[in-house]
Structure formats: C-alpha cells, structure tokens
C-alpha cells in the first residue's frame, strides 16, 4: 500500500467508527466485496470514502443504508466495479509478488523464532555452553509454507467473493465443506509424514538476513504499487 492509499485508508478507518450498528453489516459486506474486486487499492479506498459520505449523510437524515443504495448490494457493487479501470497485468503481478514476499518474510521469521536450534542457541548462550548458529530447514517447513500461502489466498478469495451470502445462508454445500476440510487435513498429514527430513541447514544470521531482505522487498513493492 503506497503512502497516499495508506493515508486514505487510515482516514476511512476512523470514519468507519461513525457507522451505526444497523448499517454496519451491509457496509462491511460491501467493503469486503470491493476488496476482492479487480481494481486498485487506491480506487478501493476512494470508493470507500464516497460510500462513507453517502452512508453518514443518510444516517444524519435518519435513513437506512438500504434506502440510499437499494436492496441489491452486490448489483450496486458490480455497477461500481464495471465503471472503474481494472488493474493491468503489471499491477496484478506486483501485488501477487508482494503477497508472496510478505507472507514468506513472516513465515520465515516465525520459523527462525520457533526453531529448536534457536531455542537451544538462547539456552546455551545463557548457560555459557558452546554455540551452534546453524538451523535446519525441513521438507515440512517448505511444504507447510507453500500450503499456508495457497490456503490463505483461497480463503481470502472465497470470503470476498461470497461476502453477501456468508452468514446469511449456506454458501457452500456440505459436500464441498467436507472435501475442503479433508483436503486441508490430507495436506497436513502429508507434511507430518514426509516433513521431518532436513533439506538443508543454514546459518541463523543468514536466515535472518534473508527474512529481512524479503521484508525490505515487500516494503519497496508496497510503495511502488
């Protein structure tokens, strides 16, 4: 998120607090649906700002969101999205790369902190024993990182695309839910089965530098988007 978008985002977040309880659900569903649309983050915030003006003005007049927007919120959102420029391939690629790099930096940091070797290093440092700076990266670490990123992206997509149905009616069939849960369980069973084998070892400072480099790349990508 670049500086201009971030500023608008923070401004909108503050104004969100003024939305009355009875309008909150519809407003949240609309924003959630717009988040999944193929429009730039900046345009999402601009639309949010306009919607806040529409809704807060309606509230002041004692009107409900439905009386100003209509009953079909999805139709309203689709009309808005159709009239905004879609993101081009470069923008999409940059956003995708940013998500991957940022996710990897977080997962890498968690992996370093949670590694047995890190805990042993701290313990040995405190007790004055010989120090080993190497941490092992297992097959499980790699597979779980890839799985977490893919599943997280799928969940975000499902939630944003179905924001108007979720919680109101059964959005997914029982069979679909069963296969989704079974699929996730199968992935984690597979990770625990093959995951223990060490793929390579790496110096903890090199791992930290790699994590920091990923985070810096994320910051740069966020600024240029």
């Amino acid at each position: 998120m670049n500086k201009q978008t971030k500023k608008l985002n923070q401004f909108n977040n503050e104004l969100d607090k003024q939305i009355h309880t009875e309008n909150q659900e519809a407003y949240t569903d609309i924003v959630c649906y717009l988040r999944g649309a193929d429009i730039s983050e900046y345009n999402q915030e601009v639309i949010r700002q306009d919607l806040l003006d529409i809704i807060l003005s309606a509230q002041k007049r004692g009107e409900h969101i439905q009386s100003v927007i209509g009953a079909d919120y999805k139709d309203f959102c689709d009309d808005i999205i159709a009239n905004l420029p879609p993101r081009n391939t470069k923008e999409k690629a940059l956003e995708f790369l940013d998500i991957i790099v940022y996710s990897l930096s977080i997962l890498s940091a968690i992996n370093i902190i949670m590694a047995d070797e890190t805990i042993a290093l701290i313990r040995n440092f405190a007790t004055g024993k010989a120090l080993s700076y190497m941490i092992s990266i297992s097959v499980g670490n790699i597979i779980s990182a890839i799985s977490i990123i893919i599943i997280a992206m799928m969940v975000v997509r499902i939630v944003t695309k179905n924001s108007f149905q979720m919680g109101k009616k059964e959005a997914m069939g029982k069979l679909k839910v069963f296969f989704l849960c079974a699929g996730i369980m199968a992935i984690f069973l597979f990770i625990s089965w093959v995951g223990k084998a060490t793929l390579f070892t790496v110096n903890i400072f090199a791992a930290c530098s790699f994590t920091l480099a990923l985070y810096i790349i994320h910051r740069i990508l966020a600024k240029i988007q």
Partner: protein
Amino acid sequence: MIPSQMLKGTLENCILKVISYKETYGYEISQELQKYGFSNISEGTIYPLLLRLEKNGLITTQYRESPLGPKRKYFSISMAGKKELDLFYSNWMKLEQAVNLLFQDGGQIK
C-alpha cells in the same frame, strides 16, 4: 414511476444535465431529479452512473471538506460533457418526435 428499463440510457444524460446547471454532489442530484418527476432515484442508483460519466471524461470531480467527516465529491460538467448533452438532446428530440408520430398518427402514414 418510470420503469428502470425505460430510464436506462437516458438517466445518465439527465444527471449530466443537472450537473450542467451548477457544481453539485450526489444527494443533491437525486433530490433535483425527483423535483422533475424522476421518482425513487436514490444516490445509490446514480453513483455508478457518476463514475461512468467521470470515466468517460464528461464530468470533472473535486473533493471538498464536509462537516460530517468524509470529503464530499462535487461534480462539474466538462467541455466533452456539454457536447454530449447537445448530441443527446438532438437524438432525444428525434426519438420523441418518432414516438409521438407513431402513437398519434399511427396507421395513417402511407
């Protein structure tokens, strides 16, 4: 109430006409349209159309401070918008004439 199918295509230009009178904002446009008999035209109906007019360069926008908090978007007509209005009105007159002719003198023209 005018059916929505009938309004399609004309409402956008009627919004443009309202904007041509003075710089205005969404709610004011919906209120102005209601004065002329366009019933049940909410801000939600006209907002996507305003975005389309903006995208097509027929109107320009400017944000101004509002006492409620969020900045309010004000719309003005552009030169391209003025030309579009002239074209729309000329086409509308032709359509109106043709429809009136059909309904009033239908079956008489040889």
